[in-house]
Structure formats: C-alpha cells, structure tokens
Symmetry: C2
Subunit: 392 residues, 2 copies
C-alpha cells in the first residue's frame, strides 16, 4: 500500500513514527505534501513536495492522508483526491462536519473510501464501533467528553485551583490547546465531532450550524467551587439522544455527579458513553489528543484501507430508505434545567426562562438555577458575552 | 441469512428478543435446538427441535449459534457444524479456550467463520476491537474485570458490608451467578476469557491449564476492610503483559487504588484496559453478563457473518510467521508482591516467599505482605484451602 501524506505537524509526525514502528502493517509514504519551504524538518527534505497537484497526480499511490491546518487547502486536497479515485484518511473534523453531504456523495459516486477515526475522540475507536458493532443495535443516546483541550483546562482548574486563563496557558504550553483556542473552548470542535458521531450512531446528517454549542470560555473558579459544594464537577459534554423520531443534539457544559461515568475523565482523556436498547451503557475511554494517540488512530484507518475497508453508513442508508432523505430536523422544543452565572440582569434577557428554581446573589457572583427554553440558547452561541451556562 | 440456534436459556432468549427488535438486521431462526422436551417454553413448540443432527443436516441454514450449557454437547455441535461448512457464533468461553487450536485449525481447513464476541466481557466489543483496530498497534498489556459474578459479589461486600456467602446468594438470586459458582468465583471463567484475549491481543495461544487463576472464594470482610483502610478496593483482575518476548498472564484478586480505571467498575459491569505503544491507555466498559447485553453481542456477530466477516487472527499469523508456531511459553519466573491472609502458618508452606514486607497478627486475622515467587502460586490453583491472596 502506497500513500501520500499531506501535513507534517503533530499528528502527521505521530503517524510517521507509528508506521515506522508497526510490526503488523507497512505502508510506503511516497511523498509528504507541505506548504512551508523554510520550516526545519525532522526527516530528509527529499521526502517532501510543495506541489499538491504533483502529488495528487502521481500514479504510484492508492490513498492519501490529509492532516493539514488550513481548511480551504484541506477541502481542495480531499475533494481532488476522491475525484481522482484515491481513498482518503482525514482527521479534520471541521472539514468533515461542514462538508459532510458533499463528501458522503463523493464516496458513493467515485467508489472510494473516506475514513476519519482520528477526527473523533483521538485514540478511541468510536466511529468504527458504531459502524461495525452497534449497527444492529437501536441506540438511545451518545454522550461524551470529546474535546481534550477543554477537559485539560477544566481538570487543572478543579484539581490545582488555577483560574481559567492560567489553565488555558498551561494547556497551550503542553500542546493540548491551539494558539487560537476559540474552536475548542467555545465548543465548536466537539460539535463537529458530534455531527460525525450522529451520522454513524443515528443515521442522521445535521449541518453544524444547526447544532447548539456553548463552551467554557466564561467559566470561573466560583463555578467550579459551586459544583464541588454539590459533590459535582463541570465537564464539557457533547450529547445526542433520540426523542421519538426526532433527535436532541448539543454541546454544553454540564455538572456531573459521582454516579456518572464521565466524572473522572481527566486532563486530555476523552470518553464516549453509548446507551443501547439491548447492550445497555457502554463506555470507551482513551487519549483524545496528542501526536501518538491520534497518529495511531490514523494508522489504523490506513491499515483498514489496505483491507478494502470502507464505512457502509448502515444507519444512514436505513434512514434514507425509511424517510427518503438523511437530513432531519433537530428537536429544539424542550426545556433544560441550567445553572446560569451572570453579572447583570440584562444579560438574562436573551434567555427564555420558564421557571426559576434557585436564585443566588453575593458580592462575588450571581446565579440562577432555572428551566430554560432550549431554542433561546442559540442566541448565545459563538457570541461575546459573560454568561456561564451549564446543564444541572 | 438463515440460522439455527442451539440452546434457549438466558442468552439464547436475549438473542431471540434482540433479533426480533433490531431494525438494522434480520436473520431467520429456522430452528432452535434444545434437549429438554418437557421444559415450558416462551414461544410456540414448533420452533424447537430435539434432534441436533437433524438441525445440523438442514440445507436451509448458513450458520448456527451455539449457546448450550453442556460442554461435550457444545463441542460436538460446534465441530460438526464447522465440518459441514456452517459458520458458527458461540459464547462458550470454556469450550473455545480449551479447544482453541482445534477450532482455529477447523476455521482454516473448512473456510468457515467462528465468531465469539459474546464469550468475552459480555456486551463489550473487545475481540472485534483487538482484531480490527489494534492490529497495527503493539500492545503492552491488557487487563480487566471480566467476570460479572465475582464483581457483583465484591461490590456488594464492599458497599453493603455483606459477607461472602450472603453476597454470593444474592448474585445467584439475581441470575448473575450460576447455581454452581465455582468456575466464576475461583477465576476459571475469566481465565478462559483471558486465553481468548491473548490470542487476539498478542497472537499467542495458551492452554488454559498453563494460565494461573486464583479467585475470591476465600475472601472475608476483613480483606475488604484492610483494602479500604489503604484507600483501595479488591477486584478480580485478569492480566496479560509483554515481558521481552515472553508473556505474563494470570487471573488474581488485586488491591486497586483510586488512580486505577478499574476501581469504580461495579456490580455486573466489566471493563477491559488495553495499553498500546502509541494509543496509550484505552478503557472499554459495559455490562459483562445478562440476557440482553450478551444477546446483543451475539446478534452483532450474526450480523457480521452476513457481511462475510471473519476473524483474520492477524497477530497470530504474524507470530506464526516469525516463530514457526503460535504456541509460546508463559513467563513464570518472576515475583509478585502479595497480600496473603492465612489461618495457620502451615498454609504458607506451599508458597515460595522471597521476602516478607509486613506481618500482621490479631485475634481476628493474620496476614503477610510479601514478595512471592509466581510459579509457587500454581500449587494453590483450584484447590480447597483457606488462603486469600491478592496482588498489592
């Protein structure tokens, strides 16, 4: 099996090392496509090419691995490769979630595989399990901690009493958070992953903009202490569940108690909990970020390609057969009980508060516990504001 | 896909229900083979046959599912089916572990599949993940709680302060333990499962009699309290790890601390932790026993058969290619630090105690913490004695 690799950052180098040391599987990396001619590289320069189209035109490769930063470049590389009949492995959740329908259609039209285990929860083989093992099982819900950066920040705030900005800086220093952490801490990254999980778990394609995500960017030490007083911890949780023939799906901070499987998932670890009608609750835990864990997931996809493996999208095809199309409306007409910490009452005006359960005011902080119309939360998404909201 | 089912006990009925309610996959159960003509059945009598050879001779089935109690019957059914070119799904760990080489060879010779996800850790898709996902990964170790009955007993002793016999009776009442609990509580059942895991994780076939198992049948409330004083809990852990080019593999009670992923796996839940060179620590948790969880695992195997799935034993073939054969010696020349509670000093004579670290004597109990030559522990295996031994 001969491949080309695009991108030689953290995950690309992890893949390179994992492939070099794997006893079970060898693939030849014919070329590594990178952009920056002047960056120092760990391996000899003749491994690299700076011409993407030269690489994609080679006749000696059967597949490419796409691990580049730039979203436009990534889309062009993946689309061009598939159109030319090359199989693709990608770990780019943003690209995959935003262009899912196009990339799904290209797989069908061109008869090529697109695998993306490394895009979702790092080293945890969640897509493969949903696709191959839970295909016969009616799933009730899937929920998880699937953003390593946020989880690292929350863990350090909780365990070391750090404030948010110190914990973020530490995560950046250790390579667990990007220089621009917005996609992670505001919950966009786990939302993209959730969109992929929902395709394989429930057979439904959502556009990312339809799925609510609020993040941890406004969290304070007060919130962590408040949770601890109730014997709980705050985690950023991606969640999707069946509700009749509609689905709820969102990413929100959540106060989790010690009865939860997610409560002790710390630092850069990820966890996904699946609830099946027959199998009951299943939990998968593993490292959600980092060069080697994600590199190992990408390697497993490359090896699977060599066995002619491709996702069959069994649940999606079942739904398309049943409904004529795979795109569904989200269920948004429900209320959630939320912890809402605010600075001024005016900030609450955006929220459809149905009922206030608790109200707290002190010189240090103000919060409500209230039943809130879910749809009103979209007004907060991706906006600068000072509210911190968590499901209780 | 048309199949025959042998056995209609707990798991057989779970499979029947799961198959009836699956949207993703339908298989026709042409006949259910059972022994007892007089047992009342939940479904109409014309579903059943009492003649195993009539069923195995049918031309309208492509596969059988073997879920019978009797070991000899099970072996005859599985072997005959495979010889006749039928694919087989089995959840019978004892059968599989004891006859592994024969059943492996039959798969090769007859070109049929033998799948057994339900035999190992109930609903957790561990065999499938080892086979399909970790095939490219060098695994360092695998360890887990893979006996639901023992884990239920240990949990109730710990949480409710029950003594061993009361907890066992409760487990039996709830259907989590057999009327004859010996295979479970003495650690034979998890050993059979460990033998299967080792094939797929390390590509090595061990005979079950070569693998040490000591169980929880001698545990007392004192042991649980002793562990709690040290901030630990006692779990029955199956363990295998690479040691140079040899393997350590054993089932032993273990004192686990709160840093361990296994410490909060309670009641009938199972958990398997895999440590990969690149992927790091991975944990899979799910129900390890019960009609529906195991039935769902068996159903997933039946569905996989319909997609022409079969285990490729990639690691076993790698090892056979490297060593000429797949059977290896176990590494037994090492010491383990153990907690050993005893009644009389004479009971310790069997053990190769290299160094005593702690010694405790009171009217209530006597114990040692000591470094013990591993090989000497085989003398205790499956024997009536009063020692309780746990890895510290």
């Amino acid at each position: 099996m001969d491949i080309a690799l695009f991108g030689f950052g953290c995950v690309g180098q992890g893949l390179y090392d994992a492939l070099g040391q794997s006893h079970g599987f060898k693939a030849g990396i014919q070329k590594i496509g990178v952009k920056d001619r002047h960056k120092p590289r760990k391996i000899a320069l003749d491994h690299f090419s700076f011409d993407r189209h030269e690489i994609l035109g080679r006749s000696d490769i059967q597949a490419i691995v796409e691990l580049v930063d730039n979203a436009e470049d990534a889309l062009d590389i993946v689309r061009t490769a598939m159109q030319r009949g090359l199989h693709v492995v990608s770990a780019n959740k943003k690209l995959l979630a935003e262009h899912f329908s196009t990339l799904f259609q290209l797989q069908q039209d061109k008869g090529v595989a697109l695998l993306y285990e490394g895009a979702c929860a790092g080293s945890i083989p969640i897509i493969r399990n949903l696709e191959e093992y839970y295909d016969t099982e009616t799933l009730r819900s899937i929920s998880g901690i699937i953003n390593g950066s946020s989880n690292y920040i929350l863990t350090r705030m909780d365990k070391d009493g750090l404030d948010y900005h110190t914990a973020l800086a530490q995560a950046q220093e250790l390579g667990f958070a990007e220089i621009d952490p917005w996609l992670d801490v505001a919950g966009f990254d786990p939302k993209y992953k959730l969109v992929l999980l929902v395709v394989h778990a429930f057979g439904v394609i959502f556009k990312p903009e339809a799925v609510l995500n609020l993040g941890i960017q406004n969290i304070s030490a007060f919130d962590i202490e408040h949770a601890a007083l109730k014997g709980q911890r705050i985690k950023l949780v991606a969640y999707a569940a069946q509700h009749g023939n509609q689905l709820q799906a969102y990413v929100l901070p959540r106060l989790v108690g010690h009865e939860s499987n997610l409560v002790n998932i710390d630092n850069e670890y990820n966890a996904v909990e699946i609830e099946g009608a027959f199998s009951g609750k299943q939990l998968l835990v593993g490292k959600g970020a980092g060069s080697y864990p994600t590199g190992a997931a990408v390697l497993s996809d490359v090896a699977a390609l060599s066995h002619q493996y491709r996702y069959e999208y069994k649940k999606l095809h079942q739904n398309i057969a049943a409904n004529g199309h795979g795109l569904h409306e989200l269920h948004t007409d429900f209320t959630l009980r939320l912890y809402i910490r605010y600075t001024h009452e005016t900030e609450l005006a955006l929220l459809d508060i149905k009922e206030t359960i608790e109200q707290y005011t002190s010189p240090r902080a103000k919060y409500l516990i209230a039943e809130v119309g879910f749809a009103s939360l979209y007004a907060l998404q991706g906006k600068e504001n000072k509210l911190f909201v968590a499901v209780v």
